[in-house]
């Protein structure tokens, strides 16, 4: 859900109770299912993650479990191989920054290109770029595994013409870059569509006025388009930061759950808690330990969001 929009909705409203002649109990009855589910399967579990992070609970029913204090956190920060921890954090930051920056830059360019009136077939191009959002993570991952097949895939053959070779998803040096690429390929349509909507809301009169004053193309972008599109870009950036920090699906289905070269915080959570794609010999589902990783990720996301929002506020104050 787009962050912030909801808050704006409430803020713009005075939510004072107004009178109705419908029976109150029937209105309440109508909201009970949604509220019940939200409390039991939404907010409840979110809070319980914190509690479970102090236990050694496993994903198997009937196995006894107990509170073990800070042991999970101690293991996470001090007892595991510190190289692994540093690499996970490093991967998370690289993944987040690369996805956010590249995805938004290209999405702005595409939106600008598809918004210009002299281009034909714009709605077709838009549909094509948005399509991966509909295809989903699994189809996206499998298609790119096939195209980036290091043995006989088309990209391998193509770079082979220049005497190059790469293991793509299978080699430690290129796996993270491939994962980032696939993630951007999948998620960019979303940013583009939001940018296009932002561009279309800029009133045409401004450009006309600019034309009368003799502004150049660059000046139009610099002084009209960019400042008016900025709020939209801002939303997009925040969505990309949070989305990329939480995202582990592409990583899971392309490089598996074990490859340390592509492990991010979010991927570690599912690795420990559910053993998806973890390969044989993986430890039992350590959900207490997984919950500790989830809490670490949560603090990480919160910090990143706060830093970004703070930086934007300062920028606004300066200008």
């Amino acid at each position: 859900m787009p962050l912030g929009t909801g808050i704006r909705v409430i803020k713009g409203d005075n939510m004072q109770a107004s009178r109705t002649s419908f029976k109150k109990w029937s209105l309440v009855l109508g909201i009970i299912p949604a509220v019940f589910l939200q409390l039991t399967l939404g907010i409840g579990p979110s809070i319980a993650t914190f509690i479970l992070s102090f236990t050694d609970i496993s994903g198997v029913k009937g196995v006894p479990w107990k509170f073990i204090g800070l042991a999970n956190y101690r293991e996470l920060f001090f007892q595991q191989n510190s190289r692994d921890l540093i690499q996970v954090i490093q991967n998370t930051i690289i993944f987040c920054v690369a996805v956010t920056v590249i995805q938004n830059l290209i999405a702005i360019f595409i939106a600008l290109a598809l918004n210009s009136k002299m281009i034909r077939g714009r709605s077709f191009y838009r549909s094509v770029v948005f399509m991966p959002s509909v295809l989903g993570v699994l189809v996206t991952s499998l298609v790119w595994l096939c195209v980036l097949n290091p043995m006989d895939g088309p990209v391998a053959k193509f770079i082979g013409l220049f005497g190059l070779q790469s293991g793509f998803f299978k080699s430690n040096s290129s796996a993270l870059a491939c994962v980032i690429f696939t993630q951007i390929w999948m998620a960019m349509g979303h940013s583009m569509v939001i940018n296009l909507a932002g561009l279309q809301s800029i009133p045409n009169e401004l450009y006309e006025a600019g034309e009368i004053d003799g502004t150049s193309g660059w000046q139009k972008f610099r002084y009209i388009t960019f400042p008016l599109l900025w709020p939209t870009i801002n939303v997009n950036i925040l969505l990309a930061v949070i989305g990329s920090l939480q995202s582990f699906q592409i990583i899971l289905f392309t490089t598996g759950g074990r490859n340390m070269a592509t492990q991010t915080l979010a991927a570690r959570v599912v690795y420990y808690a559910f053993n998806i794609n973890a390969g044989s010999g993986a430890a039992a589902m350590r959900q207490g330990y997984g919950a500790a990783w989830a809490m670490f990720l949560f603090v990480f996301i919160l910090t990143a969001t706060l830093i970004y929002v703070r930086a934007m506020k300062r920028r606004e104050e300066l200008t």
Partner: protein, 272 residues
């Protein structure tokens, strides 16, 4: 004039590159799925000499696709319908301000994005309730009244005159009858758009399908594809045939419904 032409060429080149990056993988997958195994091994990149459907027939049988499609349709319809009903019945009194603690209830649905991920405790809860590896256990976490639909309906209902409520209740029309016979038909454009977006999300789910389901009879099609690609990793041609069979319904639906899909995404992010 020449400057404008130059810009045009530049933009078209840029679009052409993007189109290639987006369309090539899909065509490559399609091309691979039409090849015989031998043809693929001798030259994986060339265009298929003739169109073979053997891969499709084989993959259809091996991946058990017919059974999984039924499951996926069932999950999609139940989860989406339930979610739409919940979001509607939640958005109406909140949007109208008919409930005393409306803002607190709204807050319950917005605050979850600022909380830690709850997947693990949710799993524990459903496991202990005996809902692991059941249809209900798989679906229940995908049903809800919050998210983009709630925001969109909240805004949309504001545009429906309050006088309708008054007139209906004065005529003795009960709340639920009013909702089903008058309000929900009026909300059709918003409902259709949100229904499609929610349905795509449910159809494409794979993580919950892996976490919650262990019996084959319960698998949705995504899980079927996942298992298939694990078992037949070597046979790229059949793998791509299975993949196309999973992706094709989505692409066809997308071609016809994209207006609603894009509208819904934009509404979710910008409208409010």
């Amino acid at each position: 004039m020449t400057k404008k032409l130059g810009a045009k060429v530049l933009i078209y080149t840029f679009i052409a590159i993007i189109m290639f990056i987006y369309l090539f993988p899909l065509f490559y997958a399609l091309n691979t799925s039409f090849k015989t195994k031998l043809e693929y091994m001798s030259d994986p990149i060339s265009i298929a000499k003739s169109i073979h459907f053997e891969n499709y027939v084989e993959a259809f049988k091996k991946a058990n696709i017919s059974a999984y499609i039924g499951n996926s349709v069932f999950y999609m319809l139940v989860c989406t319908t339930a979610s739409m009903l919940m979001a509607t019945f939640l958005a109406f009194p909140l949007s109208r301000g008919y409930l005393k603690f409306g803002s607190i209830i709204f807050g319950l649905f917005l605050v979850s994005m600022f909380l830690p991920d709850g997947t693990i405790p949710q799993f524990q809860l459903l496991l202990r309730l005996g809902l692991y590896n059941t249809r209900l256990g798989y679906m229940i976490g995908m049903i809800g009244g919050g998210g983009t639909p709630l925001l969109m309906f909240y805004v949309y209902i504001k545009g429906i005159p309050k006088e309708f409520d008054e007139a209906a209740s004065i005529d003795g029309c009960g709340y639920f009858r009013y909702m089903f016979t008058i309000l929900i038909p009026l909300m059709k454009p918003a409902l259709v758009s949100m229904f499609i977006i929610t349905a795509i999300g449910v159809w494409n789910d794979i993580i919950r399908a892996i976490i919650y389901l262990s019996s084959k009879e319960l698998y949705p099609i995504t899980r079927g594809l996942y298992v298939f690609q694990g078992q037949y990793q070597v046979d790229m041609t059949q793998q791509m045939a299975a993949l196309i069979m999973v992706a094709a319904p989505l692409i066809i639906a997308y071609v016809f419904l994209q207006r609603y899909i894009v509208d819904g995404i934009v509404a979710g992010a910008v409208k409010a």
